[in-house]
Symmetry: C2
Subunit: 357 residues, 2 copies
């Protein structure tokens, strides 16, 4: 992923912080790679106008229009439930390939296995990168991360799309600032796109979720003091809880960070599921982790993007009071309260292991 990527990010009809998470996160963490966003419903606006970040990155109405910004690749900017390709996007992708743009996709439907598109790509000398495509030969997990010296921290959450990846990336930056060697283990298409490596644990064969998480964590632990494992789904999500638990029991974290959105009372795509109080969810996660290795939830990372500053601060104070844990919005405010909690935990663990050694 070392070449100079210049993406046009396809998010037709869906550009926004939650509806096009892949595009939005790419713009947040690697804005230099995005030359334009394609969404005719926001044409003429900028990324900043829609997301609240991303500066002057232009939004255009057609692929043709994006060409004057010099893209060399098309990024599929969404990650819908089920991960299928919206049929209406096929023409755009075909045109992009014909115009020699490489394709980067995080869909479950692998573009490289689409007979028509793969043929045109091969004929045009265009590369198709399916970020979710798992590596071959993943073994089942065997508890191997119990032997790492690195401190393993997993972000967990009350729902999908709640900030587990974003919080982990903010904490990574915060820990780097205080001099920690830190690795981010990307477990989903967007994290992999941003970091340049990882395994999409939701795309492996189900028996190997834990094995994928274990392999990733071991790789990340090689040259890090602290490994931040990107969480997926939620233990209470009707569709994805299996991935969440497999990721937890494969990575075997030493500690967790709970991510939540104060304004969300029910699961985003399942309004029949009420999100329980934070303290209940924290207990649930600690219980499930402790079945294999005790791992306290150290802090709460809130996603307050839809609240005013005053509301956000109130929500943070309330979460801290409810849980007795440090809390903040690690994107909107200084992530220091959570960074400090992780650093203190890491130091305590280090001294405990040197005493017992």
């Amino acid at each position: 992923m070392s070449r100079d990527l210049k993406f046009v990010a396809l998010a037709e009809g869906l550009f926004g912080p939650l509806t096009s998470k892949t595009a939005a996160s790419c713009i947040r963490y690697t804005p230099e790679r995005v030359v334009a966003v394609l969404d005719s419903s926001h044409a003429g606006e900028t990324a900043q106008d829609v997301l609240g970040f991303g500066g002057a990155i232009p939004i255009v109405a057609s692929l043709q229009e994006s060409f004057r910004f010099g893209p060399n690749a098309l990024l599929i900017g969404i990650a819908p439930q089920g991960g299928k390709l919206p049929e209406s996007w096929r023409d755009t992708i075909r045109s992009a390939i014909e115009q020699k743009l490489d394709i980067w996709s995080g869909l479950h439907t692998f573009i490289s296995e689409d007979t028509e598109l793969a043929q045109i790509a091969a004929a045009s000398g265009v590369e198709i990168h399916d970020l979710r495509k798992p590596p071959g030969q993943i073994p089942v997990s065997r508890g191997l991360t119990r032997d790492t010296t690195a401190t393993i921290v997993l972000t967990v959450g009350t729902d999908c799309n709640i900030g587990k990846m974003t919080s982990a990336l903010q904490l990574r930056d915060g820990l780097k600032r205080i001099g920690r060697r830190v690795a981010f283990a990307g477990t989903g298409q967007t994290g992999i796109l941003i970091e340049g490596w990882g395994i999409s644990v939701d795309a492996v064969v189900a028996d190997f979720i834990g094995g994928a998480a274990e392999q990733l964590t071991l790789d990340a632990a090689k040259e890090a003091d602290i490994v931040l494992v990107e969480g997926q789904g939620s233990l209470i999500h009707p569709s994805y809880s299996g991935v969440t638990l497999g990721l937890m029991h494969g990575s075997l974290p030493h500690a967790m960070v709970m991510c939540a959105q104060p304004s969300r009372t029910h699961l985003r795509n399942h309004d029949w599921v009420k999100i329980p109080p934070l303290t209940d969810l924290i207990r649930l996660h600690e219980t499930m982790a402790a079945a294999l290795r005790p791992a306290p939830v150290l802090a709460v990372a809130l996603n307050t993007y839809d609240l005013s500053d005053a509301e956000a601060k109130k929500a943070i104070a309330r979460a801290a009071e409810e849980t007795g844990l440090p809390a903040t919005d690690a994107v909107r405010y200084d992530p220091a309260p959570i960074v400090d909690a992780l650093e203190a935990f890491h130091q305590t663990r280090l001294s405990a292991s040197s005493v017992s050694a």
Copy 2:
């Protein structure tokens, strides 16, 4: 699966109740389909000698020897961790294909996608049945089983290979005897082989575990009063807990049956994991289920095959006392205590729903 199957069951070096679960279960529930077992280490003995059931089914030392019993298919009789084909079995499978035996396999490695074997099979007009191969187009789960009138019961357990499938099959038979319309929803290769339909939920792409479980349960519920969903893995298993939880949250049982083996103190392939007391495990399962739909554990199904009759009865009495629930070994003894508990639960649920309707 309606044709007259006559299996030689391949279990070379591994024939036994736990080490060749697929062969053993096929012999327990469909003995008429197994004409011989191939395991040179037990050649000359019978299935009964090794398993304690299966009668006079002969064990032979070579494929050649099995031919005098007239097999028309080779059953891969094991389901090892990771589900790979033991390389040493390739020659036997090739010979079987050359001798016009169809192949039935529950491995993760699909024989039908093995270039060499698939080619020979095609040339010989031989069919390869990969029981774990998932159907295309499984959606993600959406809580749809909340609307079924059938009572959904999931078997759960302290470990893999503990009796979740076998107990469910025994309970199916017991419920049939008292006149219930009951369906067994097979979720693994062996259950699918025995019942003739199902989806191997551990073989689908991880995001779709719940969806596979949901689809299966809905299908099973169409013409049944009670659906018995075959459990997989364990919530405390380092490799497979993700599959276990995905299956729970996709099928959304109304009630559960806890399966355990009294003599097993630690996970079979992970001696670093101590199995917690039954009451703790029951609470854990009820908590995880209740996140989406409350489901009590109604009974305990013990696997006492390695205990004397006196020891088994003592273990059953102890489990009943510890948990306050009906308990028995549904294979060794009359499954009535558990069958009665399921029937009583079903009746209570029926009258509650007719009152509220």
